[in-house]
Symmetry: C2
Subunit: 213 residues, 2 copies
């Protein structure tokens, strides 16, 4: 197909498509004449992946390039590629070194040990969890870790099991990794939205106003 049809199919403008080709995150089309290139279904799929990572994942173009390079590099193990993607998608919390941070880091280490999770304490997600718990402590919510963290960890395990089952349907490496990256990025949006809905429901039942209906 020509670039105009690729644009219509994906909702991405022609100048933006050309920009992605220049940035090296979208392969160039096959030249059919000096001024015309032909694109195929792999371009449609790649463009949708790029838009998901940029718009939903909030990644920069440079981060998208790194994730796509990792997906396409057969020498990297699945586990390593997932790690590369996670590094870019991890929620970015400011790192302030203080007493709240020290306590939070200890709580994260204890949680990981208690759950028997196979993760390095230096994992970016462990750091961002400690940053979130420290931020809670600083605004007077030190009880959160004690009262709610266990339920959150239970929920995270439920989701991770579903994610793994979802991803493991694929046997081809590129499909598997792409599925995991997409699932991580879009799964966050799904989960955040569902949490809001379940909260609205709980708030409505407890604080008495029927939302809508």
């Amino acid at each position: 197909m020509r670039v105009g049809e690729l644009s219509r199919r994906t909702g991405v403008s022609v100048p933006t498509i050309k920009y992605y080709v220049r940035e090296g995150i979208l392969p160039a089309g096959q030249l059919t004449s000096p001024n015309q290139a032909s694109y195929d279904e792999t371009h449609v799929r790649r463009l949708r992946l790029i838009r998901a990572l940029l718009d939903v994942g909030g990644l920069s173009v440079a981060a998208v390039r790194e994730v796509l390079d990792a997906i396409g590099d057969p020498s990297r193990s699945v586990h390593k590629v997932l790690g590369a993607a996670h590094d870019h998608i991890a929620p970015g919390l400011g790192d302030v070194a203080d007493a709240a941070r020290d306590v939070a880091e200890r709580q994260v280490a204890e949680l990981i040990a208690a759950r028997g999770w196979h993760v390095d304490a230096g994992n970016p997600a462990a750091r961002s969890l400690a940053a979130a718990l420290a931020a809670l402590r600083r605004v007077g919510h030190e009880e959160f870790a004690e009262l709610s963290l266990g339920a959150y960890a239970d929920a995270a395990e439920t989701i991770a099991a579903a994610d793994l089952a979802y991803v493991a349907r694929h046997t081809a490496r590129e499909e598997l990794v792409e599925s995991a990256v997409i699932g991580t990025v879009l799964g966050d949006a799904v989960l955040t939205s569902l949490r809001r809905l379940a909260q609205v429901d709980a708030s409505s039942r407890t604080y008495g106003e029927r939302a809508g209906s």
Copy 2:
């Protein structure tokens, strides 16, 4: 305390503190002389809340003002204030009207009905959930809704129950609402980080590399 100590206690610079006062999101200190104001613990706590909403929640200063106004307005019910906060914290996904979107909206309506959730179909979180499911469909992950959505909804219910128990410890209205807002914003970061950790653990067990240790 003077503004310099307020700055040290909270890690927020003096010019930024003055900016928040000008923007009307931080109450001015008590004037003790024409050029000097005195601040107290309510300012410390408010500043930490502002930083949590800005840095962790990713809200704009205008959105922070609306949420704080809602917290401070006794004529608004708890349920309504939570709704105001949610409107600003909902993940912002592009709204594209297409066939994928139509299917996703139907799936969300079915999920809400099946779960018996008391939420309006026009709820911002219902819209962002539909946007996320539509984005998954567009990148070829239409199976997600069928295979994984139930586990995600189970997890969301677990968390909402924990959130409600956490918030309901408070009886004072302002504390209760502040707790809910903080919990919603920072709870997202906690949950996203935990989901990553549980994924790393699951990936490590399945794809064979021990992360760290």
